[in-house]
């Protein structure tokens, strides 16, 4: 697994290491703030799994183990950057300011989106793998035409990296020098498909074949992910073109709550990755170097618990939408068939029609 080209600034034990190309620029306060982000998103993710098991969510896609990859990238974004996620970027959504209850609207099956993408500059979830990667490149082409100093950042996994759309996106990004950062969370598994089936070469090396830089970063190392993301985003904003970041991480949980990983992977592998936990290593750094106290960690946990309770209440309060809403926002312009559908529903007494 460990490869001499892997960028790492913080070991699994929480000790700083140097890298010739990247230096950690974060202050103790910033590191603690990001630790808080990671602890909270982990707690909310666990609460969401519980909610699904209790029948309150149709499905949940956990990010356990990928917190550093997402918070590290998320905190490197500038306010005007635009992000294009999959259905699993809860940490990025958190960094963009999307309220947790909005993140769960898709999984509660009351919405196929959940938030206003322009308000948070974070696009709605994309479930068809790889589609959003092309959309992000198009958005970046728009940035170029506007002459703006902004970047698009898009997220996908190791599985999606085999999709044609992702590879076509690489072609476009290179040909047009688009200001887009491709952030691939290689969490080693596409449901039950191991990385060895997905690609014969380390994913970051593909970028070189397409004509732009590719970097493999220790996806469980908050410091490295932050610096690599920051550099790639700055490069994009300055007109330097695309970068592929492969965040080498691990999907500690299941693909979704419908999956049973015991059917295809061994516990021993999961144990190995437990020792590389992203949250624990930042915690260790905070203790060694910044003398963070148990009290300060406890305060974060208490805050996370409160947010989890609030999320639970918000989800339970998420009722069945009025069915008449299914006709809203399909088109910008009025449409006879949609009006007829609405009329039908009112006549059948399914809805009062007031909306």
């Amino acid at each position: 697994m460990i490869d001499e080209e892997l960028v790492q600034l913080l070991t699994p034990e929480g000790l700083r290491v140097e890298h010739p190309d990247y230096t950690s620029s974060l202050s103790g306060d910033q590191i603690f703030s990001m630790y808080r982000d990671m602890a909270i998103i982990r707690r909310l993710c666990n609460e969401s799994t519980s909610l699904q098991r209790q029948g309150q969510l149709a499905l949940w896609a956990p990010i356990q183990g990928q917190e550093a990859a997402q918070i590290g990238a998320g905190r490197a974004l500038a306010p005007m950057d635009f992000t294009f996620p999959t259905y699993r970027e809860h940490g990025i959504a958190w960094c963009r300011g999307v309220p947790p209850e909005n993140m769960l609207r898709l999984f509660r099956a009351v919405s196929n989106g959940g938030w206003d993408p322009y308000k948070y500059r974070h696009s709605v979830p994309a479930i068809v793998l790889g589609n959003q990667v092309l959309n992000a490149v198009g958005y970046a082409m728009g940035i170029q035409r506007d002459g703006a100093e902004e970047a698009a950042m898009t997220f996908f996994g190791d599985g999606a990296s085999s999709q044609g759309d992702v590879l076509e996106a690489f072609v476009w990004a290179a040909s047009f020098n688009a200001p887009v950062v491709f952030f691939c969370q290689n969490n080693q598994w596409g449901i039950s498909t191991p990385m060895s089936t997905q690609s014969k070469v380390p994913l970051y090396r593909r970028a070189r074949g397409f004509g732009f830089p590719g970097i493999r970063v220790d996806g469980n190392d908050l410091l490295a992910v932050y610096e690599v993301s920051k550099a790639a985003l700055e490069n994009a904003r300055a007109g330097g073109g695309p970068t592929l970041i492969e965040a080498f991480t691990y999907r500690m949980g299941a693909h979704t709550t419908s999956d049973d990983p015991t059917r295809y992977r061994v516990d021993a592998e999961v144990e190995v990755w437990k020792h590389r936990d992203p949250v624990e290593r930042v915690k260790a750094l905070l203790v060694h170097e910044y003398k963070t106290t148990q009290g300060e960690f406890d305060a974060v946990d208490a805050e996370a618990d409160e947010l989890a309770l609030q999320l639970r209440a918000d989800v339970l309060a998420m009722g069945r939408p009025d069915p008449i809403t299914m006709f809203d926002n399909v088109f910008a312009e009025p449409n006879r068939e949609i009006d007829e559908g609405r009329q039908d529903m009112v006549e059948l007494g399914i809805s009062g029609g007031a909306h």
């Binding site: 635009f82 294009f84 919405s111 196929n112 989106g113 206003d116 993408p117 322009y118 696009s123 709605v124 979830p125 994309a126 068809v128 589609n131 092309l134 959309n135 992000a136 490149v137 198009g138 958005y139 970046a140 082409m141 728009g142 940035i143 170029q144 035409r145 506007d146 698009a152 044609g164 759309d165 076509e168 996106a169 072609v171 476009w172 040909s175 809203d328 926002n329 399909v330 088109f331 910008a332 312009e333 449409n335 006879r336 068939e337």
Partner: protein
């Protein structure tokens, strides 16, 4: 009144030029659309006048042409995507159905999918495989998309501009067999709305509906029918999804009979859908069931024999005779 005679290809070119002039956010993207001006020359001269950033020669991938156009729409641009041929739209089908059709709804109205996907469609040009398809029903069936087809140069000139101006995603079907046929284009006054069905010929015995290439075939058939004492009322659908049903209903209520003429096979087609709707709405006015004249339900044949696949004047007249025969 300024009118000019021009081919449909030139009319599309002029309409695209007007769109590029009117709105700096309008872009064109496709394979060979820039320097070459498109394999049918529809975009001829546009890159020279509007530049490479607005008339974009794309690398060869249809899914990316549409997928990036989606991202451009999110950023406020209006991209006219060109699919080089109907048979090559399929790689983009995923982006069209999964994103273009759904993003407005998924974002609760935040996103505007202001893009146009142009397809040179239907057959009749003696081409090799995959260059003569009729995929319009696949898109019409998909909730969240709109589909239109022009049949004349005047409609081509105006409908392409209207499609670009629309805030909804439009699949714009152009009958390539008609690209080089000339017609009068009124450069000042749009004929009507983008989806409006248009009466091409008034008649009393049977309503015949057509779109794209078959509009002209049906008008020729109407001339012959008249000599046999049958008065065909011909309506050009233009809007395939949504279909402008009201004028069709009025017409069928008057004539009591209807036939839809298309290149696409009958099964699960635009024509089949219209038969269903008109039967429902005009049941008590009908003197016969509605019929569909279409291609056969097979992969499009090698074009040496395509004239026996595509609806001819004879096949239209045969259907008209059948329909007339039900209550006589």
């Amino acid at each position: 009144m300024t009118t000019k005679t021009m081919t449909m290809a030139k009319a599309l070119n002029e309409g695209l030029r007007r769109s590029l002039e009117k709105n700096p956010k309008v872009l064109i993207m496709g394979e060979d659309v820039g320097k070459l001006g498109g394999v049918f020359r529809i975009t001829d001269g546009l890159q020279k006048d509007f530049g490479q950033d607005r008339v974009i020669d794309a690398p060869l991938a249809e899914s990316a042409i549409v997928g990036t156009a989606v991202g451009l729409a999110i950023r406020g641009y209006r991209t006219v995507c060109e699919m080089q041929f109907d048979g090559f739209v399929y790689p983009a089908f995923d982006q069209i159905v999964s994103q273009v059709a759904k993003l407005r709804k998924r974002s609760d109205g935040a996103y505007t999918m202001s893009l146009v996907i142009r397809l040179p469609f239907q057959g009749g040009i003696g081409a090799i495989e995959h260059h003569s398809e009729s995929p319009e029903a696949l898109f019409a069936h998909t909730g969240g998309l709109k589909v239109v087809s022009c049949s004349t140069p005047n409609d081509a000139y105006w409908m392409i501009q209207q499609a670009v101006e629309s805030d909804d995603p439009i699949i714009f079907c152009e009958p390539k067999s008609r690209y080089w046929e000339k017609g009068e284009v009124d450069l000042e006054n749009p004929p009507t709305g983008l989806f409006d069905a248009v009466l091409r010929r008034e008649g009393t015995d049977v309503t015949v509906l057509a779109y794209g290439s078959t509009a002209k075939t049906v008008l020729r058939a109407a001339d012959t029918a008249m000599t046999e004492g049958i008065s065909m009322e011909v309506i050009d659908l233009r809007g395939l999804s949504p279909v402008d049903i009201e004028p069709l209903v009025s017409s069928v209520q008057k004539t009591g009979r209807f036939v839809v003429v298309q290149e696409a096979p009958h099964t699960a087609s635009i024509g089949a859908s219209i038969v269903s709707e008109l039967t429902h709405r005009c049941f008590y006015s009908l003197r016969a069931p509605g019929l569909v004249v279409g291609g056969y339900h097979i992969p499009y044949p090698p074009t040496r024999i395509e004239e026996d696949y595509r609806p001819t004047v004879d096949r239209v007249l045969d259907a008209v005779d059948q329909v007339m025969g039900f209550d006589q």
